[in-house]
């Protein structure tokens, strides 16, 4: 059995768990409401140029929430439920299991993109026309992949943290701002912008909006950056998960929640 098969089985497990856990699907209830609010504000302000932002933002928020909140709970929930000990005792590295599971979690979040588009089309009669569909599709895929890497990183960071809830609750908004999800980074203070370049969401948000407007001239650089940041996050997440297991074995906290 290959490592990829293990990831696939972990993915299937998480898909089943998410289907049976209404809390995991909450993001799909929230996304249409976010789209409605953002679109209503945009139309009320007579800003048709900002419709793309209003439709794309809930998708990116869905990805971020699933990476931060739900993916971050994967390992702590196994620890709390006493599944972590037999998992560590198995020959397959925990990183593969976490990778498969966070991928499933992120894909649930990605469904918010589709919902948001539907709400705009059916609810507001605003069909988002994409001028560069190829770039847009590539940007969505790259964003999802980067989200998997980031979810892996967040899972490691949150699992190792002693203040999990505080971390999960406090990391949402800063990244919406740094990611330029709800408004372009150009309206933010200048000193914030260099920091935002390290957040894949900022590249994704800009590339997605630009591909809708047909102005994504630097798309190869943006795509490469999204993938590079996602890969770096994935590597960091795998290292942290490995470290989590080793630390627990050394400190004797494998069975602790």
């Amino acid at each position: 059995m290959t490592h990829l098969s293990v990831v696939w089985r972990a993915f299937q497990l998480q898909a089943l768990l998410s289907r049976r856990s209404p809390a995991h699907l909450l993001i799909l209830l929230i996304a249409p409401m976010q789209t409605t609010s953002l679109l209503a504000m945009t139309l009320h302000a007579h800003r048709p140029d900002a419709v793309a932002t209003a439709v794309i933002a809930p998708g990116l928020i869905g990805l971020w929430v699933s990476s931060l909140d739900y993916a971050g709970r994967v390992v702590p929930e196994d620890q709390w439920a006493g599944r972590f000990t037999p998992m560590v005792a198995a020959p397959v590295p925990l990183t593969l299991v976490v990778a498969g599971r966070v991928t499933a979690v992120v894909l649930v979040g990605a469904m918010a993109f589709g919902e948001s588009w539907l709400v705009a089309a059916l609810g507001f009669g605003r069909v988002l026309t994409v001028r560069a569909p190829g770039v847009f599709t590539a940007a969505v895929l790259a964003t999802c992949l980067a989200s998997v890497g980031t979810a892996m990183l967040m899972s490691g960071v949150i699992s190792l943290s002693r203040a999990r809830d505080v971390l999960q609750n406090s990391l949402s908004y800063p990244f919406y701002i740094l990611g330029g999800i709800v408004f372009p980074l150009t309206v933010l203070p200048g000193w914030v912008r260099p920091l935002s370049h390290l957040v894949f969401l900022s590249w994704s948000a800009r590339l997605l909006r630009d591909s809708v407007h047909g102005t994504a001239h630097d798309w190869p650089l943006a795509l490469a950056t999204i993938l590079a940041l996602g890969t770096a996050a994935l590597a960091g997440g795998m290292w942290l998960t490995h470290r989590l297991v080793n630390l627990a074995r050394r400190k004797g906290t494998v069975g602790h929640a």
């Binding site: 497990l13 439920a81 000990t85 037999p86 198995a90 020959p91």
Partner: protein, 314 residues
């Protein structure tokens, strides 16, 4: 033949903030032969689970070595993990919202079993542990005993040669516990080795070839289960039931009687030898006490005398 488990001078300490470290295992040396059922007895906090965790690679020893079928638990973690099965007692440890079968399919993947193999083994194991009819029910609807059986099925999924069972029958009803013991004996006949950490003396007596008593991380004794009574000094005993304390006092004055003690539901006269026991039995019959019988200390008595009566303290 290579030992199934060989631990040598094993020590495990737990560091604590601003307090002295706790020694959970202290210089423990233990060998378990292949195909043996070995009981690990001791009070709460004795170090039983710590030993099981070290041997199953989820905990690193502070010093000393441990090998499972010749593989070092620290240096050859991967090899050890494929050879051992860990069965922890309790309600937790499963995906409650998934069915028993789904749980096994996932855990099979962690042992690199392909889909076809894991499906075949899961069906066979669910049948074997009596859960075949509930295979497609969510685990959250299972009783504690059913969960326990599913834990065992999970531990057996990759066909390990050595199984570590930590309180495996806690929560099982008597019928299920007997069935569980029968299953363990069957599995031993298939060539597997068991290390059974338990508080249940009847279970240890019924199942184990040898037992080890540990307390405060130290190994107090290891012996054949059938010989363990000798540890109390080869003492002979006669047990009898009688209401009258005066009779017990009279019996204690006989030259062949070392002492007479009150147990929960009976008296016990300790004698120096078999002849002494014979005289005590005859003395009791003369006084119309027909409940007397020759006895040897049980495993429970050995345990209580060796570990001591510490009440609820750990």
């Amino acid at each position: 033949m290579e030992a199934a488990v060989a631990a040598s001078s094993l020590r495990r300490m737990y560091e604590r903030r601003r307090k002295d470290a706790v020694v959970a295992l202290d210089d423990l040396t233990l060998t378990i032969a292949q195909n043996e059922i070995h009981g690990l007895l001791g009070p709460n906090g004795a170090g039983k689970t710590t030993l099981v965790k070290i041997l199953s690679t989820v905990l690193l020893p502070t010093s000393g070595t441990a090998r499972v079928l010749g593989h070092d638990v620290v240096a050859e973690t991967k090899a050890v993990r494929s050879l051992v099965g860990l069965v922890l007692g309790g309600d937790r440890g499963l995906y409650d919202r998934l069915t028993a079968r789904r749980n096994l399919l996932f855990w099979g993947a962690l042992y690199k079993l392909d889909s076809r193999t894991v499906r075949r083994r899961a069906d066979a194991l669910l049948e074997r542990v009596g859960l075949a009819e509930r295979a497609d029910d969510p685990v959250e609807r299972f009783s504690r005993g059913m969960r326990q059986r599913l834990h065992l099925a999970r531990g057996l999924l990759h066909e390990p040669r050595v199984l570590f069972l930590d309180e495996p029958t806690s929560g099982l009803d008597p019928v299920a516990a007997v069935a569980f013991r029968r299953l363990v004996l069957e599995l031993r006949d298939e060539g597997r080795t068991f290390l059974l950490a338990t508080h249940d003396m009847d279970e240890a007596t019924a199942l184990c070839d040898r037992v080890s008593l540990i307390d405060r991380g130290r190994l107090l004794l290891t012996d054949d289960t059938s010989n363990v009574g000798r540890i109390l000094g080869d003492r002979e005993c006669v047990d009898f039931v009688h209401e009258d304390d005066a009779l017990a006092r009279d019996l204690a004055t006989l030259p062949s009687v070392l002492d007479v003690e009150r147990l929960d539901d009976r008296w016990r006269a300790h004698t120096a030898d078999r002849e002494g026991s014979r005289r005590v039995l005859a003395w009791l019959v003369e006084r119309d006490v027909l409940t007397g019988r020759h006895a040897q200390p049980t495993l429970e008595e050995v345990y209580l005398r060796t570990v001591g009566d510490r009440g609820m303290r750990v």
